[in-house]
């Protein structure tokens, strides 16, 4: 198996006191716990830290770990010959270090000691994964392939990481932050314990056109000034296909034009709305003739968009 340097992971010397182990764990948990850290890779880092702490905080496990000797992190090694006899769970002759990684080895020490010969039932492990999907997936539902390595009890009550590959159907109606529970699809329970559950946390990937808020979608609708003034009818994309939208006369920038039931479907058969957010845009270059027409418009129009600037209270004195 590959050696992991639990002390180095926690930033400690081998002789660190229990108090130092706890302090180092708390500091790193505060930094890398997925609930409090937004750093990329934080979750992986936290798993390493938690694994190191699980072993080093327990006097027996720490002693057992220390007797494995110090190796380079990542180096292949075997526990010394007398190690297994000394540390194997009592009454468990089937205990073998073969094919285990270091974390499984120490998980088993705990399982073996806790049982003390009595075969207690244990519930299976829950498993939680993030599932990013696209707006199109949320609109029509999708199937995803999951390849999971779940900790699971075998017939002897020992934990193994078991690969599980299956397809999961995400029904339409998913939205950002929604969660799905798949009952009984986590790790198997031991000796009559119930199976764990699989939890899927749905997130929506960013889309170049649509921005989601719950089941509502927002889309920028750029208009040229005369369209906004005179009103028009434009074709706008929606996830279900293009739709004609009537832009009323004198539509102001920033206004939300609502297309009812053109957003994302909800799990219960409803549907969110799609809002077209009006932007008034001008060409970056205009020809001489166009510029002349604008000048003519400027002469004719009495509209003052900044009339409120001259109201009382704009200036301190």
């Amino acid at each position: 198996m590959k050696y992991k340097d639990y002390y180095a992971i926690l930033g400690l010397q081998r002789g660190a006191s229990d108090e130092e182990v706890k302090k180092a764990y708390r500091r790193l948990a505060r930094k890398y716990h997925p609930d409090v850290s937004k750093e990329s890779g934080a979750e992986e880092k936290f798993k390493e830290v938690a694994e190191a702490y699980q072993t080093l905080k327990d006097a027996d496990k720490r002693a057992a770990y220390d007797q494995l000797g110090a190796h380079q992190a990542g180096q292949e090694f075997q526990p010394p010959p007398d190690w297994q006899q000394h540390w194997q769970p009592s009454g468990d002759d089937s205990f073998s270090t073969e094919g285990l990684d270091l974390s499984e080895l120490f998980e088993r020490m705990r399982a073996g000691r806790g049982r003390g010969g009595v075969r207690m039932s244990m519930p299976g492990q829950d498993y939680e994964i993030a599932v990013p999907i696209t707006i199109a997936d949320a609109y029509q539902g999708t199937e995803i392939d999951l390849d999971l390595n779940m900790p699971e009890y075998d017939a002897q009550g020992q934990l193994h990481r078991v690969p599980h590959a299956f397809k999961a159907r995400i029904p339409k109606g998913a939205s950002d932050g929604q969660r799905l529970r798949v009952p009984g699809k986590g790790g198997k329970g031991f000796n009559g314990g119930r199976s764990g559950d699989l939890y899927l946390n749905i997130s929506l990937r960013p889309h170049p056109l649509y921005r989601a808020s719950g089941h509502d979608l927002y889309l920028d609708l750029p208009l040229v000034p005369w369209e906004a003034v005179l009103g028009t009818s434009v074709e706008v994309p929606t996830p279900g296909g293009p739709v004609r939208l009537t832009v009323p006369r004198n539509t102001q920038a920033g206004r939300h034009l609502r297309l009812p039931r053109r957003g994302l479907p909800t799990p219960k058969g409803g549907q969110g709305d799609l809002y077209a957010v009006v932007l008034i845009v001008v060409p970056s270059v205009v020809g001489e003739k166009e510029a002349a027409l604008y000048r003519q418009l400027a002469d004719v129009s009495a509209f003052d968009p900044r009339a409120h600037f001259s109201e009382e209270g704009s200036y301190a004195s």
Binding site: A29, K167, R179, R181, V182, K185, R211, A212, D220, H256
Partner: protein
Amino acid sequence: MRVELTEMLWFEEHAVSLSELAELTGLSPATLEELVSSGAIEPIDASSPEPRFGAAALGAARHARRLREDFDLDTQALPLVLGLFERIDGLERQLQALRARLPGRIR
């Protein structure tokens, strides 16, 4: 071998009893009762003699279990931390809703 999953439950569709909630989260009924009485976990129908718990409660209870294990939090600190997380979630949702409403492409 690939197995087709058919039974998927939206969190929203959940309604479980306190003992089922305990089984689903691994928290003891006593701890859950404390979280309920402090308001950190709310049943769907608080006046019922047999309260049922929905999606928000399941999410919060699972979160409580994880926080308690990973940070060694005691039962007094848990409701406080859960309350702060709930506020952060609410603020993040509001922020996302506001961002969606803002034009993204001002040229």
